[in-house]
Amino acid sequence: MKNLYIFIAVLFIPWSFSLAKYDEFEDGDDIMEYDDNDFAEFEDVSEDTVTESPQKIITTEDDEEEATVELEGQDENQEDFDDADTQEGDTESEPYDDEEFEGYEEKPDASHSKNKDPITIVNVPAHLQNSWESYYMEILMVTGLLAYIMNYIIGKNKNNRLAHAWFNTHRELLESNFALVGDDGTNKEATSTGKLNQENEHIYNLWCSGRVCCEGMLIQLKFLKRQDLLNVLARMMRPASDQVQIKVTMNDEDMDTYVFAVGTRKALVRLQKEMQDLSEFCSDKPKSGAKYGLPDSLAILSEMGEVTEGMMDAKMIHFLTHYADKIDSVQFSDQFSGPKLMQEEGQLTKLPETKKTLLFTFNVPGSGNTSPKDMESLLPLMSMVIYSIDKAKKFRLNREGKQKADKNRARVEENFLKLTHVQRQEAAQSRREEKKRAEKERIMNEEDPEKQRRLEEAALRREQKKLEKKQMKMKQIKVKAM
């Protein structure tokens, strides 16, 4: 009796293992079926749950694997543990096929003929197979990440090399024109660092100062994002180039009042929409510069004809014609305040601050595939910038031009005030109400009844005075109208 119990217990353990493993495939009838037929569970599997189960090995194709089926059919309960063995055992058991499985062959044959279904699918969970191939998605992912990291390092280094190549080419010219070349704002004293200031992996800044006429010049080397693989792929669809942006801030007394821009038509159309000053002062569409001998690719936006006449002197035309392919836009403006700010309605109460600025945007040749040597070709453009600074200082509008310019600026200011009139009124109104409320609160908070009464009387008197003033004003207006 005891022995029987022990035997049952021993059978029970592997049986429960197999149950746990093949939980998904169990129906209610499983227990009965299991008694009758060792391969009942595989029956269910092949019919119903082909899609659900983890990766299965269809083992009827190779001779080798047929042997595995027969082996595993026998050892279904110990599959997990014998997996490795059976795989290895394959090659070993092949020569012994006939001999070793003589006794066994009947059973699987019998069961096979019973099942009619020749395909027995073995459910080996994928992660228990000792093959890296099943993890191919993960390997793909990791490879992708490695590729990204490689691209990051390569791109970063390329941008770095380009920036330093640019700086080495231009250093001499800059140092001869500016007292302070390179400043990152951290030192207490204004000493030249003589180095580019790296803001990003693709943006480098250089601040130069210490020259007559201008407050300072900020050069931004805006390279393409070579360190970001996504960007590199996007650029394969849509080519773009590195840009050098130079912003010269002029002293107030060194530049007259005008707004003028020249550049590629596309760039000017975009700037006219985006820039606050160009949209307000240059209302016409960009005009062709053919009249002055400029190539067709360039167009001009100007506040008035006189400015264009004054700006387009021989040397400037020479610069613009020779380097037209590298020029994206050139903007001279005394009302420069940057792009239009998208402000909420309630906030627009003051005109944005303006500074007299010369803004140059140049495209680096090569449209993405630049090499450090290309930086040398930008040197003449820097000379153009220096020339423009001196020119802007020298150029003065005549009397007519000045009048027109002043009128324009007054008009713009008036428009702005009209637009914000309502908002300013509301703001003033709310301020008055706040004051009243504060007064009332003070009166309420006063504990001393005497003081309270006095304060109330004072407030009343003030209000009466205000009303009288208003009435006086109305009377005056009426008299004037009459």
Partner: protein
């Protein structure tokens, strides 16, 4: 051209710092996206979410400005790595392709 006693003006950071609308929003978006995907990967036990989160945090790092906090980058990166690791610990099976 250049007068030595002329006092040079100091460096002022470009307008992007005063006008947030001009700044490139990519690193911030990618950071946020990375965190969202890591949370999805952790909660819903989706492996591909976790992997995308790792990619997002890498992209965010590549596009970041030098003035940006490294702690933020590191935290998003760690979160995405932990999402991947947790997904595999809970379910060691390889990822199945969507097709």
């Amino acid at each position: 051209l250049r007068e030595p006693p002329f006092p040079p003006g100091r460096y002022k950071p470009p307008a992007t710092e005063t006008n947030p609308a001009l700044e490139d929003p990519t690193p911030d978006y990618m950071n946020l996206l990375g965190m969202v995907f890591s949370m999805c990967g952790l909660m819903l036990k989706l492996k591909w979410c976790a992997w995308i989160a790792v990619y997002c945090s890498f992209i965010s790092f590549a596009n970041s400005r030098s003035s940006e906090d490294t702690k933020q980058m590191m935290s998003s990166f760690m979160l995405s790595i932990s999402a991947v690791v947790m997904s595999y610990l809970q379910n060691p099976q390889p990822m199945s392709p969507p097709w």
